[in-house]
């Protein structure tokens, strides 16, 4: 057997790959699992030896408010950030969900700190008025499409493109310019109610789910859903809306999609676990419902 040539680039690459392979084997898993840990018995205990405390949402907000109190950190209007960990396993075992970036509509708006530029297309003038009132930078119809084709208006200036289904045939001419940003119902950019759509894009929570490059079935979303001085129930509703939006991207397979949700608020380093399952209603055939129907049927026959 011929000895490997120690000077070639191929060999050094092979060695480097092997070393990085060995390093990757020792890499700590990012997926969270504390099912093997004990349940806490006493009222006072050392947190790391037991399962994570699952706080009700309002209590978690209260905890953060305590640390940000004027007497301690003195930052009562700090952002309330959310870290959602996902299981990115796709329908097949070796396939994974792609990274996605969405805007979730939330019931109670707050200052994003982002300047979102939106261009809205629709045929009727009242629709255009609705869109500009809601906050779209530019809204128009066929004339606007012509302006873009001329070059007077550049699509690059705008982050989001929304449209009414009526104007779709004319909009197809700009498909090449828009490419990925072309309005479609799946992304929520193609809708009859333009005012609502624009409002959602201006005020909504912009989040991206990013997979870990080595641990492909682990994905994470990091966004913020409001500020600590907002009402706890409002924050809870925002959180619920975000969770439902994230869940809409779930692949059709068994098992959970969201592993856990952590609430945190800089400058504090504390991350508090919150139960996301409370906000997800599963559509399952309810046995109780079937029994009720049977009872009703009996009553009718009698």
């Amino acid at each position: 057997m011929a000895k490997p040539d120690f000077t070639t680039l191929a060999f050094s690459k092979m060695v480097r790959n092997h070393i990085s392979y060995r390093l990757l084997l020792k890499r700590e898993q990012r997926k969270f699992d504390d099912s093997w840990k004990r349940d806490p018995i006493d009222n006072v205990y050392v947190a790391k030896y037991y399962k994570w405390v699952v706080y009700p949402f309002s209590e978690a907000v209260e905890c953060h408010r305590e640390t940000h109190h004027p007497e301690v950190y003195n930052k009562p209007n700090a952002n309330l950030r959310v870290s959602i960990e996902l299981n990115m396993q796709g329908e097949k075992k070796t396939r994974y969900v792609d990274n996605f970036s969405r805007i979730a509509a939330i019931p109670h708006k707050f200052d994003n700190g982002e300047d979102r530029t939106i261009i809205a297309f629709s045929k009727s003038a009242e629709c255009q008025k609705e869109a500009s009132e809601a906050g779209a930078q530019l809204s128009g119809g066929v004339e606007l499409i012509k302006q873009i084709q001329n070059g007077q208006v550049s699509l690059q200036d705008f982050q989001f493109i929304v449209a009414h289904p009526e104007i779709l045939p004319e909009l197809v001419t700009l498909r090449g310019l828009m490419k990925r940003r072309f309005p479609n119902p799946r992304a929520g950019t193609l809708d009859a109610n333009l005012g609502q759509v624009v409002e959602r894009f201006i005020n909504g929570v912009n989040y991206s789910a990013i997979k870990d490059e080595h641990e492909k079935d682990f994905g994470i979303i990091e966004t913020f859903i409001g500020t600590l001085n907002m009402d706890a129930s409002q924050l809870e509703e925002n959180f619920a809306a975000l969770i439902r939006d994230v869940y809409s991207m779930k692949p059709k397979r068994e098992g959970h999609f969201i592993s856990r949700c952590l609430l945190w608020s800089p400058p504090s380093q504390e991350k508090l676990k919150v139960d996301h399952n409370l906000y997800l209603s599963f559509i399952e055939p309810n046995n109780e419902m079937i029994e009720e129907d049977e009872e009703v049927a009996e009553k009718i026959t009698l």
Partner: protein, 259 residues
């Protein structure tokens, strides 16, 4: 099959030593079982006929199971005394067999949970009068927590008086779940902002059900963070607390190699 475990030796000097002292050999039955599977199946024969001859290929096996490398199932024992992390007197716990034998059965802290023993120790709780801790983990918690010093971060500009919830959040940030009602602050109130009490210590009393233990905590205002603050020698804020603070478990000592 009986098997004796002998020490495999290399040098002749050592072999002499073995021949002279018999204690080096372990005369103990090793009940190991190897479950093997033939790679190529042996031919079946009719009843009454002679068995078909086995060829060398029939003596090639694959190992299916080795009983001595498998994990032994946990065994049940009944405790005689309070064992921290496991249970109170009279509790029936399930533990790993080696741990059970070496740490519990041999020192007499527990007995096997055989049917006779279960009957015998059924009313153990009522007969033995011993100091019972609230739970097995309480003592462990107390031991861990009595070593620590945590920093209580307070604001430098806004006026404050130290309350139990300030201490509670400091505990929570450090990884200890301590409810407010279990914390007892010193009688003398600590107010601020007061830079003279910066980095000074005081202790609070935390009640874990029935056990009472003291913790030392140091107050830091929003100034540059001192890494490893618990290693530095500290002053007491309230002079009355100084003697008790001095007796509190020591801060970690650096171990140096003695040459």
């Amino acid at each position: 099959m009986w098997k004796s475990l002998g020490i495999i030796l290399t040098s002749p000097i050592k072999s002499q030593y073995t021949l002279l002292s018999a204690e080096n050999l372990l005369q103990q039955q090793l009940r190991t079982t190897y479950v093997l599977k033939r790679r190529s199946p042996a031919q079946l024969h009719k009843k009454g006929n002679a068995p078909k001859t086995l060829r060398s290929r029939h003596y090639v096996y694959d190992l299916v199971q080795q009983t001595h490398v498998e994990r032994q199932p946990d065994i049940d024992v009944i405790l005689n005394t309070f064992v921290e992390g496991l249970g109170n007197v009279g509790d029936r716990v399930s533990v790993r067999p080696q741990f059970a034998y070496n740490e519990l059965l041999l020192p007499g802290l527990a007995v096997y949970a055989s049917p006779e023993n279960i009957e015998k120790y059924k009313d153990y709780n009522s007969t033995i009068e011993e100091k019972r801790y609230s739970s097995p983990n309480a003592l462990l918690t107390v031991k861990t927590m009595s070593r620590i010093m945590i920093s209580v971060v307070m604001n430098k500009e806004m006026p404050w008086t130290l309350k139990p919830w300030h201490v509670k959040i400091s505990f929570r940030k450090s990884g200890y779940i301590v409810p407010e009602d279990t914390i007892t602050l010193p009688e003398v109130p600590i107010t601020g902002p007061d830079l003279s009490i910066e980095n000074k210590e005081f202790f609070v009393t935390v009640t874990v059900f029935n056990l009472i233990h003291h913790w030392s905590t140091s107050v830091t205002d929003r100034l540059p963070y001192t890494p490893f603050f618990w290693r530095e020698p500290g002053e007491a804020i309230i002079p009355d607390q100084a003697p008790i603070l001095a007796t509190l478990p020591e801060k970690p000592i650096k171990i140096k190699n003695i040459q």
